[in-house]
Symmetry: C2
Amino acid sequence: MALLARARELEATGRSIVHLEIGEPDFPTAAPILAAGQRALAEGRTRYTAAAGLPELRQAISDHYRERYGVEVPARRILITPGASGALQLATAATIDPGDRVLLADPGYPCNRQFVRLVEGEAVGVPVGPETGYQLTADLVDRHWDERTTVVLLASPANPTGTVLPPQDLAALVTTVEARGGRVIMDEIYHGLVYGAPIQTALAYSERVWVVNSFSKYYGMTGWRLGWLVAPEAGVGAAEKLAQNLFLAASTPAQYAALAAFTPKAAAIFAERRREFQARRDFLLPALRELGFEIPITPDGAFYLYADCGRFTDDSQAFALHLLENAGVAITPGLDFGDHQPNRHVRFAYTNAILCLAEGVERLREALRG
Amino acid sequence: MALLARARELEATGRSIVHLEIGEPDFPTAAPILAAGQRALAEGRTRYTAAAGLPELRQAISDHYRERYGVEVPARRILITPGASGALQLATAATIDPGDRVLLADPGYPCNRQFVRLVEGEAVGVPVGPETGYQLTADLVDRHWDERTTVVLLASPANPTGTVLPPQDLAALVTTVEARGGRVIMDEIYHGLVYGAPIQTALAYSERVWVVNSFSKYYGMTGWRLGWLVAPEAGVGAAEKLAQNLFLAASTPAQYAALAAFTPKAAAIFAERRREFQARRDFLLPALRELGFEIPITPDGAFYLYADCGRFTDDSQAFALHLLENAGVAITPGLDFGDHQPNRHVRFAYTNAILCLAEGVERLREALRG
């Protein structure tokens, strides 16, 4: 955050900054969705929806699970939320009691820990590295489980590492957690942005997982603030009541706009953008390795590369600030993502055209040589 | 909620239901705001804003405090939130620690208690009645304060009672709470919808209060989910960080649309709607009294009448269901608003044209005669 503010300051003075720190796709919302949003406003669709969301949008998402994953998820288990944030908040509030231990990968998305803390749960970061693809494993869960542990929070593709859980690993994780009587909360907000073997939703392996998803990343609707939660049958009532209390409902115009996300026209745009992200990864990954950043495994999803910068520094925060000031390249230091070796890691986001990535790489080359 | 579901069921079978239970203005979003929203989409304004919101919208709200209340509130203390819900969540999370006692009026808006509970605070309903205008008083705060009490949550105009805190009473409350080292969280979401003497924002009496407001009610933007929080100078940083973690930012198109809420054209529409609400109150209040409902004081704000139905029943829940089934009139039983005499109270909302209110009154007359 401080780094982003400093980047803006520098830009205000006329400095050119290459942004490799931004966790938001650079593409505008796709035209069919914009058009649907404008139509919704023209039709005056501005009053509250039900707390669980528009029935037709919940049904569209249910259809999506059947068509894309071959998984039956009835619409009644799907709640529309204000962004994935709203879904995460419902899932954590519904499953975590004060004092409960919640296991998550470290490094990981920082807000996840905050949601756990908000309900007085104890967020326990489990150090992960390249040997497990920066993901939790059934074995790690076994080793860190104790009698106060109740929930395991997974993310695939993950932020900041961009790594995915292969289907069999995900299945083993879900089985292990549930065999211990625990619950899985699964963050799938980067689903769709996958560049290797196909991945599967956790819903394929259990009807008891809580799945968080979003229209922000793959569907390019960040500023609209729209996501969804899939709750287990037994948790739907509680989640709906929580939604009613915590945010009443998600944005009505956004929900109508999102209906267009499931049209063939929009799907073609998303597929094209996915290919563009893949091309960026395929450009940036070898370029960073060549500069001396260690990225031991190829991240197959999202739009992040998590790099070991130990060859250059033992203080990634100072390193990132140095690169910003001297090379005009903004990246995110590891500290934002946890306590496990943050000082020797930085995150690169490829939410920028290849031309800009190339410029960033050249600037880095120059700065790291000096 | 169960009652609303039953009302929808009856309507689905073709029954005509007069809705006097809905806490949402029946007016569509004003045309200038809709147009601004469409313009924002046409311009592709769909990416995240800063967590605290659009600078120009924060400034417009700051100007609004100066022009309407004569109070200086710098834009940096104003955070744009996803509805008043988001603002309430920030305010409660920032001020309440686990175990803290929080005083609120009973009856009151039920979600307020939920936000307190979410952060493991203890929501203490203080019974209020007509003798204090259904509002807390400095004296009530004194009597219910103890060493674990840290926050007092006020609302004016209030839901479900529609009553307002006169400026001098509000000033006394703020002074009393702060003299005890406590914090005031002030819900002002029905400001603007006031039909008696002008009221004042709590910000006029202290720079330490947390004020929650919304574009939903007076500004008619319910489904857009947009509100704001005014934080004390010392709390801005914490609130901004919480916002970043809990919801990233409020809806971008909604924020651009809301800029039009401060134009003269929109203001004229809001003033006209305020007059219409006042006319409805002036129709419904004497009509209900004449039927035998006791409404001992004239509520001067919002769009609610909170009525003692003790003459008809000692079970307002069964009474409301009876009226729904037999008269086709939907009202809200007291149980939704707290523990203080809920069984002899019901809430009427005048979010419906006078013609419909008149039809509702006639149906009630018929049903109560039988």
